[in-house]
């Protein structure tokens, strides 16, 4: 089937590897991926920061670009949650959700030899509600060992502009998250949101940790 990719502003700029991996996975399964080149941002940052009118304008722009596609995929549960809740666009799906719930695929034929901690991000749990789709996909990756993280469902402290406006509180949350990830024995921490990985990866990097942050799509695209 034809699937439009919404790579997200963060994904486009900071995590292009996750977008490329999303393309690889979907094309590997025989689907056609298209990329509407006028896309930029869904407006979530503006809404979350109190700039509703700007968010509405960006939302209208997003809608006009993507409402014509039957299926849109984004490698970010928080952006998907935003366009579904704020714009009511049910044709937009997060990658793991698209694979498991829509396409009925829970084994993408990937091989990735590492101990992996899965961080269930807040929006994937409580807004987009991807359920166990990411875990099912990871469970079928050859060579991959999933490890449990203490207080896994607790927020990493990103929260968009919260990370800067309330930097100390955000950092305290991050410190606990990094400590829990390290204690799990993981070599890689993965999630379905680039923004949370920006936070966790940035914290791990500053601690000089050996644990790497990788988007779920990158693991699923590994051969």
């Amino acid at each position: 089937m034809q699937i439009a990719l919404f790579v997200t502003c963060v994904g486009d700029t900071l995590f292009p590897e996750a977008g490329r991996a999303t393309v690889d996975v979907l094309e590997g399964l025989g689907h056609e991926v298209v990329f509407p080149e006028k896309q930029t941002c869904c407006g979530q940052m503006h809404l979350n920061s109190g700039y509703r009118r700007d968010a509405e304008r960006l939302g209208r722009r997003f809608r006009s670009l993507f409402e014509g596609y039957e299926t849109v995929v984004a490698p970010s549960s928080s952006c998907v949650g935003h366009v579904r809740e704020f714009l009511g666009m049910t044709n937009v799906l997060e990658l793991s959700e698209l694979l498991v719930a829509r396409l009925g695929v829970d084994d993408v034929g990937a091989t990735f030899t590492a101990r992996v901690a899965y961080h269930p991000t807040c929006h994937s749990l409580r807004v987009t509600r991807v359920g166990d789709a990411p875990r099912r996909l990871l469970g079928n990756v050859r060579g991959l060992e999933l490890v449990e993280v203490a207080d896994a469902e607790e927020c990493c402290g990103f929260g968009g502009t919260f990370a800067v406006k309330n930097a100390e509180t955000s950092s305290a949350m991050l410190a606990d998250k990094c400590a829990a990830v390290e204690a799990s024995g993981a070599e890689v921490c993965t999630a379905v949101d680039g923004s949370c990985l920006l936070q966790i990866g940035g914290g791990l990097s500053r601690r000089g940790s050996q644990v790497r942050a990788l988007h779920l799509a990158e693991i699923l695209a590994s051969r």
Binding site: R20, E37, G43, L125
Partner: protein, 455 residues
């Protein structure tokens, strides 16, 4: 009011506080999860609770009058208070009329909200907190950091020190039973001597005029039954239409609050009973900003709150900073949406931003208050009221950039060239908040869109 980020900075530096808080909130959180999971109809109960509260707020004018008439018919007197001063005045006047220079108090957030103790103190009347935790704070000249567990930031050795300095000189044991005994010896005399008791109320029943206080210790019941005069103060949103509605709320509240199936003491009283308990009952109905919140179509849902504090215990922000950082008697996620509405957004503009929007609060709220949605709504008001010029400019510039793919693409190329591909260790200005504790992944040298064009 000190802004949340500034206040939080101070609290975060207190490691004892963080350890106490993490331990205590984890314990309550686990208990709550266990007793909630026992009920197959928990979601239906939440929905019922939400609907009842919605009905109360939609028809508050009618229910308030019904409640007033029922209280009067049962022999009580009803006072209407627009604000804190009017409510405090009622209590002071009643106390003076009975020659009381001391009143005993049931734990009550509403009386904390109106700063009743300070107001009575100015009138020469000493208000004694009888809830164990509130007593600890009062003796230490401290204030509550949690809706339900006011002294959650204290551990027992700290409590022993406070008692040794005040009501139990020489106490050496920090065993909970010994600490409770010290408080008991001190409080019993006050209960028996007091001429006036003061309480809040968890619920007021419009149909019958009944007041309800839910508690763990029984000290509240001492205050509502021993003194000959009782004054009960409740926010106008605390009404329930029918007595039968308690069936829903007496299941929702204890399970959400303390993680108990049922709380140890539930006191209900309707007016007065001759020769039994108080012979004079005053009920104060308090507005103090509530009608402002009620007028806000989105914000009004905050008035559904039954003060269970489940949202505090799951909040990743509250469990790091504690309650004092919120600068209000209502801390945590519910405080972040209630305080700006009761006190005005201009007086608490940083509170709606004291959240990572993780949504854990909404998930546990027994009356389904969509706290993240109200936070966003109040953020909008905060930005409209006043926002830093630098931030506004940056957000407007970002929005303008995002409205044109060409502009966005150019910005990406500039960022990619500046970023240099290596993690960024230091950013300037307000963004330094990020790099103080974290590295920043560099913008990619090749954005996704430029890769896509070339593939």
């Amino acid at each position: 009011m000190t802004s949340f980020p500034e206040a939080a900075r101070v609290e975060l530096a207190n490691h004892q506080l963080r350890t106490n808080l993490r331990h205590a909130t984890r314990t309550i959180r686990t208990k709550r999860a266990r007793v909630v999971s026992e009920l197959p109809d928990w979601e239906e109960l939440r929905e019922a609770g939400r609907r009842i509260k919605q009905d109360v707020l939609a028809n508050l004018d009618r229910y308030l009058v019904e409640f007033e008439e029922a209280v009067q018919a049962a022999g009580g007197r009803v006072h209407w208070a627009r604000d804190a001063d009017e409510a405090n005045q009622v209590v002071a006047t009643v106390a003076r009329a009975h020659g009381a220079d001391e009143v005993v108090k049931v734990k009550s957030l509403t009386t904390d909200e109106i700063r009743l103790n300070e107001a009575l103190g100015e009138a020469g009347i000493h208000a004694i907190e009888t809830d164990f935790a509130e007593l600890i704070l009062q003796l230490d000249d401290d204030w509550s950091s949690h809706i339900l567990v006011p002294a959650i930031h204290r551990n027992r050795s700290e409590i022993r020190e406070i008692f040794a300095r005040t009501i139990a000189p020489g106490i050496e044991s920090d065993d909970p039973a010994d600490l409770a005994e010290a408080a008991r010896l001190y409080l019993r005399e006050r209960f028996l001597a007091a001429k006036v008791g003061v309480s809040g109320a968890n619920f007021g029943i419009a149909e019958t005029g009944t007041l309800v206080v839910v508690e763990s210790e029984g000290n509240g019941r001492m205050c509502t039954t021993l003194p000959p005069v009782l004054v009960s103060i409740l926010g106008i949103e605390k009404l329930l239409p029918r007595f039968a509605d308690l069936e829903v709320f007496l299941q929702l509240l204890p399970r959400s609050a303390t993680g108990e199936r049922m709380n140890p003491y539930t006191s209900l009283w309707t007016g007065m009973t001759p020769r039994d308990g108080p012979q004079e009952l005053h009920v104060v109905l308090l507005d103090n900003g509530r009608t402002n919140a009620l007028a806000d179509e989105v914000g009004r849902d905050a008035l559904h709150c039954i003060r269970c504090s489940a949202c505090l215990n799951v909040c990743p922000v509250y469990t790091r900073t504690g309650g004092h950082a919120y600068g209000s008697v209502y801390p945590g996620p519910i405080g972040a949406i209630l305080t700006p509405q009761l006190e005005g957004i201009e007086n608490a503009p940083s509170l709606p931003f004291a959240s990572s929007l993780c949504g854990a609060c909404y998930e546990v709220c027994p009356v389904k208050i969509d706290i993240p949605r109200i936070l966003l709504h109040l953020r909008e008001q905060a930005v409209a009221a006043k926002s830093a010029r630098g931030e506004r400019t940056a957000m407007k510039l970002a929005a303008w950039t995002f409205r044109g793919a060409g502009r966005f693409s150019l910005a990406e190329r500039v960022a990619g060239a500046l970023g240099g591909g290596r993690p960024i260790h230091r950013l300037p200005g307000p963004l330094s908040g990020w790099t103080d504790s974290r590295d920043l992944k560099a913008p990619a040298r090749q954005s996704f869109r430029s890769w896509w064009r070339k593939r």
